[in-house]
Symmetry: C2
Subunit: 135 residues, 2 copies
Protein backbone atom coordinates (compact mmCIF):
# COMPACT_ATOMS: atom_id res chain seq x y z
CA UNK A 1 0.00 0.00 0.00
CA UNK A 2 1.54 3.32 -1.05
CA UNK A 3 1.53 6.40 1.15
CA UNK A 4 -0.93 8.12 -1.21
CA UNK A 5 -3.75 7.52 1.28
CA UNK A 6 -1.78 9.47 3.90
CA UNK A 7 -1.57 12.41 1.50
CA UNK A 8 -5.37 12.58 1.35
CA UNK A 9 -5.53 13.65 4.97
CA UNK A 10 -5.67 17.32 5.86
CA UNK A 11 -3.32 17.47 8.83
CA UNK A 12 -3.46 20.34 11.33
CA UNK A 13 -0.68 22.92 11.33
CA UNK A 14 1.05 20.71 13.93
CA UNK A 15 0.80 17.72 11.58
CA UNK A 16 -1.90 15.96 13.56
CA UNK A 17 -5.34 14.50 12.93
CA UNK A 18 -8.03 13.90 15.60
CA UNK A 19 -9.04 10.27 16.07
CA UNK A 20 -12.20 8.76 17.55
CA UNK A 21 -11.83 5.18 18.81
CA UNK A 22 -15.03 3.14 18.82
CA UNK A 23 -15.59 -0.42 20.02
CA UNK A 24 -16.52 -2.21 16.82
CA UNK A 25 -19.20 -4.60 18.11
CA UNK A 26 -21.01 -2.48 20.72
CA UNK A 27 -20.52 0.85 18.95
CA UNK A 28 -19.40 2.40 22.23
CA UNK A 29 -17.19 5.47 21.82
CA UNK A 30 -14.15 4.71 23.97
CA UNK A 31 -11.72 7.57 23.59
CA UNK A 32 -10.46 10.49 21.56
CA UNK A 33 -6.81 11.10 20.76
CA UNK A 34 -4.45 12.39 18.08
CA UNK A 35 -2.22 10.82 15.46
CA UNK A 36 0.59 12.20 13.37
CA UNK A 37 1.54 10.72 10.03
CA UNK A 38 3.90 8.17 11.57
CA UNK A 39 1.32 7.03 14.14
CA UNK A 40 -1.34 6.51 11.49
CA UNK A 41 1.06 4.65 9.20
CA UNK A 42 2.09 2.41 12.12
CA UNK A 43 -1.57 1.82 13.05
CA UNK A 44 -2.33 0.59 9.55
CA UNK A 45 0.87 -1.44 9.38
CA UNK A 46 0.74 -3.11 12.80
CA UNK A 47 -3.05 -3.49 13.08
CA UNK A 48 -3.11 -1.97 16.56
CA UNK A 49 -3.81 1.66 17.46
CA UNK A 50 -0.75 3.88 17.71
CA UNK A 51 -1.32 7.50 18.73
CA UNK A 52 0.74 10.65 19.11
CA UNK A 53 0.97 11.76 22.71
CA UNK A 54 0.80 15.53 22.72
CA UNK A 55 1.83 15.76 26.38
CA UNK A 56 4.82 13.46 25.99
CA UNK A 57 5.53 14.46 22.37
CA UNK A 58 6.13 10.93 21.29
CA UNK A 59 4.62 7.92 19.59
CA UNK A 60 2.25 6.17 21.97
CA UNK A 61 1.44 2.52 21.35
CA UNK A 62 -1.87 2.29 23.18
CA UNK A 63 -1.65 -0.47 25.78
CA UNK A 64 2.14 -0.67 25.75
CA UNK A 65 2.14 -0.56 29.55
CA UNK A 66 -1.34 -1.70 30.49
CA UNK A 67 -1.61 -4.45 27.89
CA UNK A 68 -4.97 -2.95 26.90
CA UNK A 69 -4.16 -2.73 23.22
CA UNK A 70 -6.68 -1.79 20.54
CA UNK A 71 -6.92 -4.22 17.65
CA UNK A 72 -7.96 -2.32 14.53
CA UNK A 73 -11.00 -3.51 12.58
CA UNK A 74 -11.54 -0.48 10.38
CA UNK A 75 -10.09 2.94 9.63
CA UNK A 76 -12.51 5.58 8.32
CA UNK A 77 -12.02 9.13 7.06
CA UNK A 78 -14.62 11.88 7.18
CA UNK A 79 -16.01 14.11 4.43
CA UNK A 80 -13.55 16.94 5.15
CA UNK A 81 -10.57 14.54 5.26
CA UNK A 82 -9.55 15.84 8.66
CA UNK A 83 -10.94 13.36 11.21
CA UNK A 84 -10.29 9.63 11.58
CA UNK A 85 -12.71 7.08 13.03
CA UNK A 86 -11.07 3.90 14.27
CA UNK A 87 -13.20 0.83 14.83
CA UNK A 88 -11.33 -1.33 17.29
CA UNK A 89 -11.56 -4.24 19.64
CA UNK A 90 -10.49 -3.01 23.07
CA UNK A 91 -8.38 -5.67 24.72
CA UNK A 92 -8.94 -5.95 28.47
CA UNK A 93 -12.19 -4.01 28.09
CA UNK A 94 -10.59 -0.83 29.46
CA UNK A 95 -9.73 2.14 27.26
CA UNK A 96 -9.55 4.90 29.89
CA UNK A 97 -6.54 5.55 32.11
CA UNK A 98 -8.97 5.89 35.04
CA UNK A 99 -9.68 2.15 34.72
CA UNK A 100 -13.05 2.58 33.02
CA UNK A 101 -14.27 1.06 29.77
CA UNK A 102 -14.69 4.47 28.11
CA UNK A 103 -13.23 7.92 28.71
CA UNK A 104 -16.73 9.40 28.36
CA UNK A 105 -17.93 8.42 31.82
CA UNK A 106 -19.45 11.74 32.91
CA UNK A 107 -22.95 12.69 31.87
CA UNK A 108 -24.54 16.10 32.09
CA UNK A 109 -27.53 16.13 34.44
CA UNK A 110 -29.50 18.88 36.11
CA UNK A 111 -26.94 18.65 38.92
CA UNK A 112 -23.96 19.06 36.59
CA UNK A 113 -21.55 16.34 35.46
CA UNK A 114 -22.26 12.98 37.07
CA UNK A 115 -20.04 9.91 36.87
CA UNK A 116 -22.13 7.18 35.22
CA UNK A 117 -19.62 4.36 34.68
CA UNK A 118 -17.69 2.23 37.18
CA UNK A 119 -13.94 1.83 37.57
CA UNK A 120 -13.33 -1.74 36.38
CA UNK A 121 -9.75 -1.91 37.58
CA UNK A 122 -7.66 0.25 39.89
CA UNK A 123 -5.31 2.32 37.69
CA UNK A 124 -2.52 1.59 40.20
CA UNK A 125 -2.84 -2.04 39.19
CA UNK A 126 -2.98 -1.24 35.48
CA UNK A 127 0.13 0.90 35.18
CA UNK A 128 3.58 0.43 36.56
CA UNK A 129 4.34 4.07 35.81
CA UNK A 130 1.05 5.92 36.43
CA UNK A 131 2.50 9.23 35.25
CA UNK A 132 2.65 7.82 31.74
CA UNK A 133 -0.87 6.47 31.72
CA UNK A 134 -2.72 9.44 30.25
CA UNK A 135 -2.14 11.23 27.01
CA UNK B 1 -28.71 24.70 36.03
CA UNK B 2 -25.79 26.99 36.80
CA UNK B 3 -22.87 27.58 34.42
CA UNK B 4 -20.54 25.69 36.78
CA UNK B 5 -20.62 22.68 34.46
CA UNK B 6 -19.31 24.86 31.64
CA UNK B 7 -16.36 25.85 33.83
CA UNK B 8 -15.33 22.21 34.16
CA UNK B 9 -14.44 22.07 30.49
CA UNK B 10 -10.89 22.68 29.38
CA UNK B 11 -11.42 24.82 26.31
CA UNK B 12 -8.73 25.16 23.64
CA UNK B 13 -6.83 28.44 23.35
CA UNK B 14 -9.50 29.46 20.80
CA UNK B 15 -12.23 28.72 23.35
CA UNK B 16 -13.45 25.57 21.61
CA UNK B 17 -14.07 21.94 22.49
CA UNK B 18 -14.19 19.03 20.02
CA UNK B 19 -17.51 17.22 19.81
CA UNK B 20 -18.35 13.72 18.58
CA UNK B 21 -21.98 13.21 17.53
CA UNK B 22 -23.26 9.65 17.80
CA UNK B 23 -26.65 8.25 16.85
CA UNK B 24 -28.03 7.14 20.21
CA UNK B 25 -29.81 3.94 19.19
CA UNK B 26 -27.48 2.47 16.56
CA UNK B 27 -24.26 3.80 18.07
CA UNK B 28 -23.16 5.02 14.66
CA UNK B 29 -20.65 7.88 14.78
CA UNK B 30 -22.17 10.52 12.54
CA UNK B 31 -19.92 13.56 12.62
CA UNK B 32 -17.25 15.54 14.39
CA UNK B 33 -17.44 19.29 14.98
CA UNK B 34 -16.57 22.02 17.45
CA UNK B 35 -18.47 24.01 20.04
CA UNK B 36 -17.65 27.17 21.90
CA UNK B 37 -19.14 27.99 25.27
CA UNK B 38 -22.22 29.62 23.78
CA UNK B 39 -22.88 26.70 21.43
CA UNK B 40 -22.66 24.15 24.23
CA UNK B 41 -24.89 26.22 26.50
CA UNK B 42 -27.45 26.56 23.69
CA UNK B 43 -27.25 22.81 22.97
CA UNK B 44 -28.10 22.02 26.59
CA UNK B 45 -30.79 24.70 26.72
CA UNK B 46 -32.54 23.98 23.42
CA UNK B 47 -32.08 20.21 23.35
CA UNK B 48 -30.78 20.26 19.79
CA UNK B 49 -27.13 20.32 18.70
CA UNK B 50 -25.65 23.77 18.17
CA UNK B 51 -22.06 23.95 16.95
CA UNK B 52 -19.48 26.65 16.28
CA UNK B 53 -18.63 26.87 12.61
CA UNK B 54 -14.91 27.54 12.37
CA UNK B 55 -15.10 28.35 8.65
CA UNK B 56 -17.99 30.80 9.04
CA UNK B 57 -16.99 31.93 12.54
CA UNK B 58 -20.53 31.81 13.81
CA UNK B 59 -23.02 29.78 15.77
CA UNK B 60 -24.32 26.94 13.63
CA UNK B 61 -27.66 25.39 14.50
CA UNK B 62 -27.22 22.00 12.85
CA UNK B 63 -30.09 21.44 10.44
CA UNK B 64 -31.14 25.06 10.30
CA UNK B 65 -31.23 24.87 6.49
CA UNK B 66 -31.60 21.17 5.79
CA UNK B 67 -34.09 20.45 8.56
CA UNK B 68 -31.82 17.59 9.63
CA UNK B 69 -31.61 18.65 13.25
CA UNK B 70 -29.99 16.58 15.98
CA UNK B 71 -32.16 15.98 19.03
CA UNK B 72 -29.94 15.58 22.07
CA UNK B 73 -30.31 12.48 24.24
CA UNK B 74 -27.14 12.76 26.27
CA UNK B 75 -24.09 14.99 26.74
CA UNK B 76 -20.92 13.28 27.98
CA UNK B 77 -17.49 14.63 29.00
CA UNK B 78 -14.24 12.68 28.83
CA UNK B 79 -11.62 12.01 31.51
CA UNK B 80 -9.45 14.98 30.51
CA UNK B 81 -12.48 17.32 30.40
CA UNK B 82 -11.60 18.41 26.89
CA UNK B 83 -13.83 16.36 24.56
CA UNK B 84 -17.64 16.13 24.38
CA UNK B 85 -19.64 13.12 23.21
CA UNK B 86 -23.17 13.94 22.09
CA UNK B 87 -25.71 11.16 21.83
CA UNK B 88 -28.34 12.34 19.42
CA UNK B 89 -31.24 11.35 17.27
CA UNK B 90 -30.45 12.45 13.73
CA UNK B 91 -33.58 13.80 12.14
CA UNK B 92 -33.94 12.96 8.45
CA UNK B 93 -31.28 10.26 8.86
CA UNK B 94 -28.63 12.44 7.23
CA UNK B 95 -25.81 14.07 9.19
CA UNK B 96 -23.30 14.69 6.39
CA UNK B 97 -23.45 17.62 3.99
CA UNK B 98 -22.73 15.14 1.17
CA UNK B 99 -26.18 13.65 1.75
CA UNK B 100 -24.93 10.57 3.59
CA UNK B 101 -25.99 9.25 6.98
CA UNK B 102 -22.50 9.69 8.45
CA UNK B 103 -19.49 11.84 7.57
CA UNK B 104 -17.25 8.77 7.99
CA UNK B 105 -18.10 7.17 4.66
CA UNK B 106 -14.58 6.38 3.43
CA UNK B 107 -12.83 3.24 4.59
CA UNK B 108 -9.15 2.43 4.25
CA UNK B 109 -8.59 -0.64 2.04
CA UNK B 110 -5.54 -2.04 0.32
CA UNK B 111 -6.47 0.22 -2.59
CA UNK B 112 -6.63 3.36 -0.44
CA UNK B 113 -9.77 5.18 0.72
CA UNK B 114 -12.95 3.64 -0.65
CA UNK B 115 -16.43 5.13 -0.36
CA UNK B 116 -18.54 2.61 1.55
CA UNK B 117 -21.83 4.46 2.16
CA UNK B 118 -24.43 5.72 -0.31
CA UNK B 119 -25.69 9.25 -0.86
CA UNK B 120 -29.24 9.14 0.51
CA UNK B 121 -30.26 12.50 -0.86
CA UNK B 122 -28.74 14.86 -3.41
CA UNK B 123 -27.14 17.76 -1.47
CA UNK B 124 -28.60 20.15 -4.06
CA UNK B 125 -32.03 19.10 -2.80
CA UNK B 126 -31.04 19.38 0.85
CA UNK B 127 -29.62 22.88 0.86
CA UNK B 128 -30.94 26.04 -0.65
CA UNK B 129 -27.50 27.63 -0.20
CA UNK B 130 -24.99 24.81 -0.75
CA UNK B 131 -22.05 27.03 0.16
CA UNK B 132 -23.29 27.10 3.71
CA UNK B 133 -23.83 23.37 3.98
CA UNK B 134 -20.47 22.32 5.37
CA UNK B 135 -18.73 23.45 8.48
Amino acid sequence: MSAAWLEAIRWTSEGLVPVIAQQQDSGKVLMFAWMNREALALTAEEGYAVYWSRSRQKIWRKGEQSGNRQKVHGIFLDCDEDVILLQIEQQGGIACHTGRESCFFRRLTEHGWQVVAPVLKDPALIYRQPDQASE
